[in-house]
């Protein structure tokens, strides 16, 4: 399996912000638009590729940023696809992994 790594602190911002662009700088909407969505669609049909998103190295996250990133992607491409193609890593805040899992699960329950 080939992993494409995204380190949010390095590739996007060490101070991730709100949910939408209109709400402030370094939003999840911007992150999806500029980085994640492009990489995600590139590997969507490739069975041997996955994305691993490293959450460490930032100052901290608001819940809206994480929900829109993972929940937002799941709303657009399906919760199963997101669970299948994306892995998340965080040594600094391990509880975020559970939170993200629940955001994707919520989308699944809604659909």
């Amino acid at each position: 399996m080939e992993y494409i790594k995204i380190l949010i602190a390095k590739d996007f911002s060490k101070t991730p912000g709100p949910r939408y662009k209109k709400e402030g700088s370094f939003s999840a909407e911007l992150f999806l638009e500029q980085i994640l969505e492009k990489k995600f669609t590139d590997i969507l049909e490739k069975k041997d590729k996955k994305i691993i998103i490293d959450l460490d190295g930032t100052l901290g996250y608001g819940t809206s940023f994480l929900e829109e990133t993972f929940g937002g992607l799941a709303r657009k491409y399906g919760a199963d696809k997101v669970s299948e193609k994306i892995e998340v890593a965080s040594k600094e805040e391990p509880w975020l992994l559970e939170d993200i899992k629940s955001y994707i699960e919520d989308v699944k329950k809604q659909s």
Partner: protein
């Protein structure tokens, strides 16, 4: 048509005129009388005001006359002796509400701080956010200094006046200034300014641990609060409510206090507003039914526990409402301390799970928390 079936105004007219229709001359005469009565009333008010000013000017040096004449136009509002949102919540709210009532009538206000014996940043921050509304609305305001020198020094060092009177600009979000006495005010506009957290974190952690440390709970709390103001504080749909943040460094005791205020509508009123069926499908009513409400304090408790957004209940978009619970999580994990929330008629001491009913309503949201030595922190590696 019978008399008793006629509208009151017509009956009155018939009685006054003896049932006759008024001639044009009589109509004009009556109109003139009304106008003159109004003028007379206005003249009396002006005379009374002039008399009052003459009395005030008696025995005063000529150089003060202009100041006194200007002063009379303002409405005095006296601050409580213990001017603190944390230790004297209800009196402080009462004081702020009086100022706000003048704001709503677009009347000039003179804030009397003369007798204040104790003041803290909680009060200064809320006062600043309220007075800024006067400035934006171009309503004149003024005030005096406390007689107590220590209190006066606290206000001056807080940069209250500098912030209040500095030019209004759209990039207030980058404004972060450290004053000589280690007390700072940061002010931003309506959006989430996540990058501001870096500077605040650097300075705060140096005060506590003597070096830069990463406190993720601090950043999370700041983002959630700014986000809440942007999304929920405004009474209109334009999301134009300002948030204000005050950071108070206590080098001696190695702790930093944070005061966050938005003078919007408050959490509870915001929920009520969203009960508009078109927007939130009767959110408020459903919510009250759902948790079998005994009081509004219970609502805040439930919001903090994240009990309102379960997808099954479908009372608002399922992905919303995670901000307050995540702030509470930061407290539970020891990332921040002493979390207190004052909004509408509720004061929440979240640490001790104590939710108090206030007899006065605060039209906004005030949040205090602390960062101190025993809070979770990590090495600065960014």
């Amino acid at each position: 048509m019978e008399n008793d079936e006629q509208p009151e105004i017509i009956v009155k007219f018939i009685n006054e005129t003896g049932g006759k229709k008024l001639s044009e001359k009589e109509k004009r005469l009556r109109y003139s009388v009304r106008v003159w009565k109004k003028r007379l009333k206005r003249r009396k008010v002006i005379e009374r005001r002039k008399k009052h000013i003459r009395r005030l000017l008696q025995g005063k040096p000529l150089s003060l006359h202009n100041d006194i004449k200007t002063r009379v136009r303002y409405n005095d509002v006296r601050a409580p002796e213990d001017f603190s949102f944390l230790t004297n919540t209800e009196e402080t709210i009462d004081f702020l509400n009086r100022i706000e009532s003048y704001f709503n009538k677009r009347k000039q206000v003179f804030v009397v701080l003369k007798n204040v014996k104790n003041i803290d940043h909680s009060a200064i921050t809320v006062l600043l956010s309220l007075m800024y509304k006067f400035r934006v609305a171009k309503i004149k305001f003024n005030g005096d200094f406390p007689d107590d020198l220590k209190v006066k020094e606290t206000i001056v060092d807080s940069q209250f006046f500098r912030k209040l009177l500095s030019p209004m600009s759209s990039d207030m979000g980058n404004d972060y200034t450290m004053t000589k006495n280690n007390q700072i005010f940061a002010r931003a506009n309506t959006i989430v300014v996540s990058e501001m957290g870096e500077k605040i974190m650097e300075e705060s952690t140096k005060t506590i641990w003597g070096e830069r440390r990463i406190c993720k709970g601090l950043q999370k709390t700041l983002i959630e609060l700014m986000h809440n103001t942007n999304n929920h504080a405004s009474r209109s749909e334009d999301n134009q409510e300002h948030w204000w943040l005050s950071v108070n460094h206590d080098k001696e005791n190695k702790k930093v206090d944070f005061y966050f205020v938005d003078y919007g509508q408050g959490i509870l009123r915001s929920l009520e507003r969203k009960s508009n069926p078109k927007i939130w499908n009767n959110f408020w009513d459903n919510f009250k039914k759902m948790i079998d409400l005994g009081s509004e304090q219970k609502v805040i408790e439930c919001l903090l526990n994240g009990e309102h957004w379960s997808p099954e209940q479908r009372i608002q978009p399922y992905y919303r409402g995670k901000g307050l619970p995540s702030i509470k999580d930061s407290l539970s994990r020891g990332q921040i301390s002493d979390l207190q929330i004052i909004t509408n008629n509720t004061r929440s001491e979240v640490d001790s799970n104590n939710f108090i009913h206030l007899s006065k309503n605060f039209n906004g949201t005030f949040i205090h928390w602390k960062l101190e030595k025993n809070n979770e922190n990590k090495i600065w590696n960014i």
